[in-house]
């Protein structure tokens, strides 16, 4: 795959960030890329620290790595020692590694703990023009700021700790323009589910996605994060939005954002990092935002979705090569070809995750939650993405709205998105979820089932015990 960098007069943000962070070309043709911000958590870092120890190496830039605990932490109580002894051991290991190497650890006691992709942005660590890596595939979230951000494996976490660099092959850039204006009750989650439905879960392999067009220009940073977060579900390891005044306004005054004269210098640099009008793209895709509606997945990958008022595919209407995968998904989900998604019964409702666990997500879910009570047959959880999100929600009284409606209000963490803590589906339970993956077994039960949708749609499903169109409750 030949690199297709733009000409100097028409480069993309991706080209500029890549070139600015290139340390050297490696003997194998790859690039040694400097990583500006490295985020770590308790699941994918301990083996990396052990490898570093075995090699007798220090952390090269300890000030450029930040840690938090999110995947395994219980959400009923974060009191130490954690009630789950394995979780306690994993958190202690992270604490020990951070202490040994002088890495800042945002633990619950710091008041800044939360899902790694929620706290990086809210602390102002995530900034335009950076390269950002984390041992977590949803690192693409940080692209919302105009950063080049991607998930890595544990051996690569070791590489970043030891050298602050990675060996990388340059992807191509696809520009995805979403024109028009979203209708009321249609959210960023619906935009990314629509994009993945259109381009497929393999469509982005080998690409970085640049999201553009009037829909993205009108989005808040939190909405942009929701879209960039799920780039990886479309196969693209990274996705970004060019930084603009919305980005700068979000960052201004945040703890790690530049202050005073440094802020002005930062602004000047950030403004130079956006894609230029004549930039070259390996591919361009245009979609109509005005035509997008609330979207719900029905299958076992995030590309298997329909509009809330649509029916599931009919097997006879599918091309031969797609039929087996659809049949497998329907069998697993226990859904019928051609049935409407509306009315699908649910057992669990989960609002949270790095995709949709931010304050704006909770506000939209609460708008719906105050319209009723959780259906008696439904277990409903709200898990804020961070302590900061929880504090803000509590200041606005959202926790009371959720509790009054029968939702459980929990402590921050990844929770039932991937169920590495005690929050799990049981048996064949069907979960309306604001998270990012509907894979088989993803939410903790090997036979559990997931319907992905926006937080407002999850709240509406919780009240009715089945999939409904949240627009009727907004």
């Amino acid at each position: 795959m030949a690199p297709t960098a733009g000409t100097p007069s028409g480069r993309t943000l991706f080209d500029k960030v890549w070139d600015a962070h290139s340390v050297r070309e490696l003997p194998n043709g790859q690039t040694q890329l400097f990583i500006g911000l490295h985020l770590i958590h308790e699941v994918t870092s301990p083996q990396a620290f052990a490898m570093l120890h075995d090699m007798g190496l220090p952390v090269r830039f300890p000030g450029r790595t930040f840690a938090t605990v999110d995947h395994i932490i219980p959400t009923d109580s974060q009191l130490r020692p954690l009630s789950d002894s394995i979780a306690e051991a994993m958190m202690s290991e992270l604490e020990r590694n951070c202490r040994t190497h002088g890495i800042r650890f945002f633990d619950p006691a710091s008041g800044h703990q939360g899902i790694v992709h929620v706290i990086g942005p809210e602390l102002g660590l995530t900034q335009p023009g950076m390269t950002i890596a984390c041992g977590d595939s949803h690192t693409s979230t940080h692209g919302a700021f105009g950063a080049v951000a991607f998930g890595i494996g544990t051996s690569q976490v070791r590489d970043v700790l030891a050298t602050q660099c990675l060996t990388m092959s340059r992807p191509r850039v696809r520009r995805i323009e979403v024109a028009g204006k979203l209708a009321p009750g249609v959210y960023a989650k619906d935009v990314i589910l629509s994009i993945i439905r259109h381009l497929g879960v393999q469509g982005g392999v080998g690409f970085a996605y640049e999201y553009a067009g009037s829909v993205f220009e009108a989005m808040t940073l939190e909405e942009r994060m929701t879209v960039c977060n799920m780039s990886i579900e479309g196969g693209a390891r990274c996705g970004y939005v060019n930084p603009d005044e919305t980005t700068f306004a979000y960052l201004h005054g945040r703890e790690f954002a530049p202050k005073g004269e440094a802020w002005n210098r930062a602004l000047a640099w950030w403004r130079t990092m956006a894609s230029e009008p004549g930039a070259h793209y390996a591919d361009r895709v245009s979609l109509d935002g005005a035509g997008m509606g609330p979207t719900v997945t029905w299958g076992i990958n995030p590309g298997q979705s329909v509009g809330v008022d649509e029916r599931l595919p009919m097997l006879r209407e599918l091309p031969d090569e797609e039929r087996a995968a659809v049949e497998e998904a329907l069998l697993y989900m226990d859904l019928r070809p051609g049935q409407p998604i509306l009315g699908t019964k649910i057992d669990v409702a989960f609002i949270g995750s790095c995709t949709n666990g931010r304050i704006s997500d909770l506000r939209e879910a609460a708008r719906v939650a105050r319209r009723g009570r959780v259906n008696p047959g439904v277990r409903a959880l709200v898990v804020p993405g961070s302590h900061a999100v929880a504090r803000q929600a509590e200041a606005e009284g959202l926790d009371e709205i959720f509790r009054a409606a029968g939702f459980q209000w929990r402590e921050p963490g990844c929770s039932m998105c991937l169920a590495m803590n005690p929050d799990k589906l049981i048996g064949r339970e069907m979960c309306a979820s604001s998270s990012n993956r509907n894979f088989k077994g993803r939410q903790g039960s090997p036979t559990g089932r997931t319907l992905l949708m926006s937080p407002a749609m999850v709240a509406a499903a919780a009240l009715h015990g089945r999939v409904v169109d949240a627009r009727e409750l907004l």
């Binding site: 194998n28 040694q32 500006g36 699941v43 394995i86 900034q127 494996g153 993956r437």
Partner: protein
């Protein structure tokens, strides 16, 4: 670099795992990530899929026992970045993956562990899956240097991106040493980025405009 680490070819029997978009949650369920090492992951590879297939999963089929090459469909290893996935498959006994295409992070994690991921054309993939299912005892040779896969039915071309191929052949797939070779060029690269010093000084490097 240690030539002992070089991976020039993988020779052995193969196992056919049909289906596209097989994600890393299926390869190793998240509950097995509750540990601070990769030890013991092998026996849990594809655990839930295997349980649901009641002994009929390819990894449990007697005819594929002891195979070292896993033949897969498209977008194998998509989803979560967990390196536990290739670690589990390696501990199960696989030393190489041949398929239609691979999730990018999975591909990188395999590379970082000296495990080749080779892509074949759609026609060759269909033919290879059929051939190996018909005759699972045959020896398969994946030649990284020649970019070929040879079975009893003959030789087909495979695609391995040059970066990964070079690392396998040179035994430099553990990238840390290669990256350290850059020496002070790393600090120099950091110094050119205005944010590394918190924008404390006027930027010394502006992209061409």
């Amino acid at each position: 670099m240690s030539n002992a680490a070089a991976v020039e070819r993988v020779v052995g029997r193969a196992c056919v795992l049909r289906g596209d978009d097989i994600d890393t949650d299926r390869i190793i369920p998240a509950r097995y990530l509750r540990a601070i090492t990769f030890e013991g992951l092998g026996e849990h590879a594809f655990e839930d899929d295997r349980k649901q297939a009641k002994g009929d999963h390819p990894l449990d089929q007697e005819r594929f026992a002891g195979s070292s090459i896993l033949i897969v469909g498209y977008n194998f290893g998509c989803g979560s970045s967990r390196e536990h996935a290739p670690q589990a498959l390696r501990r199960w006994g696989f030393r190489a993956f041949v398929g239609g295409s691979f999730g990018e992070i999975f591909f990188g994690n395999c590379g970082a562990n000296g495990l080749p991921c080779a892509a074949v054309s759609p026609e060759d993939l269909a033919r290879l899956m059929d051939l190996v299912e018909l005759d699972p005892q045959q020896e398969i040779v994946l030649d990284i240097e020649a970019r070929t896969l040879t079975s009893r039915a003959g030789t087909m071309r495979v695609a391995i991106p040059e970066g990964a191929r070079h690392q396998l052949l040179e035994g430099t797939w553990n990238a840390t040493a290669v990256l350290l070779d850059a020496g002070p060029a790393i600090e120099a690269a950091a110094a050119r980025l205005p944010y590394v010093a918190g924008f404390a000084a006027p930027p010394t490097h502006l992209p061409r405009s």
